[in-house]
């Protein structure tokens, strides 16, 4: 038999339980008091790109200013100028690297096309600025973040990247060694040939 009004009383009891429970149990309160406390960013979170450097924030940038990302960027928010030395010869370093985060759409295409693992996605979201033009145009200094920071925000991905870079370096080393050995062998051969030629000359003399 249904007793009229029972549903209302059940509902009132439920809300009363919520009310008391919100003071008793911490798990009920899902609100994060944002400016004072922050939840750690999720590992899969991504927001805007940043530039990874290894040791030195200026010279250690992995970026070689190849401009692939600049060309691929759909909203065209990246601007790169390559650094040239005093003789006008291009160095493998960016002179300027700007990203306009007010234009950036966080698509991660720059990250995917970069052959040098130099640009990665950040999890930082506090880009509030009073200067809406200059403040949101991030230059090289503000974009440069260390590999340790990358490890901190995306541990799994960063470990993979490091392993890949290590492997590349090793293959390169092996290749370099082989090349060096080959060159050395060639040089030796040439030397020997010279020597033989010299000896022959000497004998002649």
């Amino acid at each position: 038999m249904t007793i009229p009004g029972k549903g209302i009383l059940t509902g009132m009891a439920q809300t009363a339980k919520n009310f008391v429970g919100s003071y008793v149990s911490k798990d009920r309160m899902t609100t994060v008091q944002y400016p004072e406390e922050r939840e750690p960013a999720h590992e899969a979170a991504r927001n805007f790109p940043f530039l990874v450097f290894d040791k030195d924030p200026e010279a250690g940038l992995r970026c070689v200013a190849c401009k692939i990302c600049e060309k691929e960027c759909p909203p065209q928010c990246i601007y790169i100028v390559m650094k040239r030395d005093e003789n006008g010869k291009p160095t493998k370093q960016p002179e300027t690297f700007d990203i306009d985060v007010s234009v950036c759409m966080s698509c991660q295409i720059c990250v995917e096309v970069c052959p040098f693992e130099a640009i990665k996605m950040d999890t930082d979201y506090e880009y509030g600025e009073f200067d809406r033009f200059g403040g949101l145009l991030l230059d090289k200094d503000r974009l440069a973040k260390s590999n340790q920071y990358y490890h901190k925000i995306h541990p799994t991905e960063a470990a993979e990247v490091d392993a890949r870079l290590d492997k590349e370096r090793k293959t390169k080393e092996v290749a370099d060694k082989a090349k060096a050995a080959k060159l050395a062998a060639l040089a030796k051969k040439a030397q020997n040939a010279e020597k033989i030629a010299g000896d022959a000359k000497g004998e002649k003399q």
């Binding site: 249904t2 209302i8 009132m12 439920q14 009363a16 919520n18 919100s22 008091q33």
Partner: protein, 401 residues
Amino acid sequence: MQQLDQIFVTLKAWALGHVPEPLQVPASIVMSIAPIMLVFPAIFALTTVAERKLLGRIQNRLGPNRVGPFGFLQWAADGLKTITKEDVVPRNADKVVHFLAPVVLLVSALLAYSVIPFGRNMHAIDIDAGILFFFAVGAGTELAVFMAGWSSRNKYALLGAMRAIAQMISYELPLLLAALAAVMATGSLNPNDMVAAQEGGRGWGAIVPNWFVFTPWGFVGCVLFLIAAAAESNRSPFDLPEAESEIIAGYFVEYSGMKFATFFLAEYLGLFVISSMCVVLFLGGWHAPFPFFWCGWIPSWAWFLSKLACIVLLYIWMRGTLPRLRIDQLMNFAWKFMLPMALINLVVVAVWKYTRPWDYFGAELVRWLVCVSLLALPYLLLGRNLLSNRKWGPRTYRYAG
């Protein structure tokens, strides 16, 4: 103890002594009105914060917590905001009526306070037909609401006003009939007589206060009164006239700035005054629940205000629990449940009153049983009838696809 209880009365008498003879009457009027005008808006300010905190906790949120300690100064920030906001009047609005509507609402809400006894000897005016005056003045809110809705020249405002009129007039009836139960029991329309009739206690050691809510008809009357009062003051779950999710804010959609604040204030003042009336009619007015006990030293006005606070908290709790009614549910509830229950309740009051002279062994028990069954049976039948009438199922459209 006596001094604390009568502190405001003594203060007024002392102050009046310093006023020259010809000015004593107007001074007395001002001194009666000013505390009402100060105390209840202050309670309103605190209630808005408390309501938001409580609703937040009910929904497992924190509620306002930025302004002042635990957010309890939020009312000051809100007040400043509404005062400094621009007052926009629609171009096509009826400007005079648009301006008058919040004033009429506030005036009718404030006038109703004049007959409420807030404590021993603490009432602004003592008139014999106080309860009649209260409900007559309270009907002014309907006029104000319709003025607001009509003059705004906004379809949402008009819809809200029409809903408000339909709702308020429908619920005026059970409200009055519920109040009539207490009037029948005391045989007086004077709120002071009402409070006086609920003095003392009964049972072993006078443990049960003589409040009307502790009688079968009083309990039902009190519940009916509270429900109808919620509908009268447009409180959730009867907030159809200002349903934010359907018609934005109903009749005060075109009000901004201080006029909106006036509406807001008047609405809460109306809620407080109708809750005060419930305290007077059924909850023993300013009487302490255990007059024989240690709580005798707590002044009568404190008892009154704490009872009022309990009712307001109940309304907030209800707001946090119940969803808004549909207009047909609202009407069905008023006419098919509230009205018959209120009428049956009147019969029970009569039975209760005329069985009082019974003086044989077990008479009290028989009296209770008769009255409770006279109320419980119709409650079950009417309630089940209401529940069985709901037609839930897939909606069918006669004309559309």
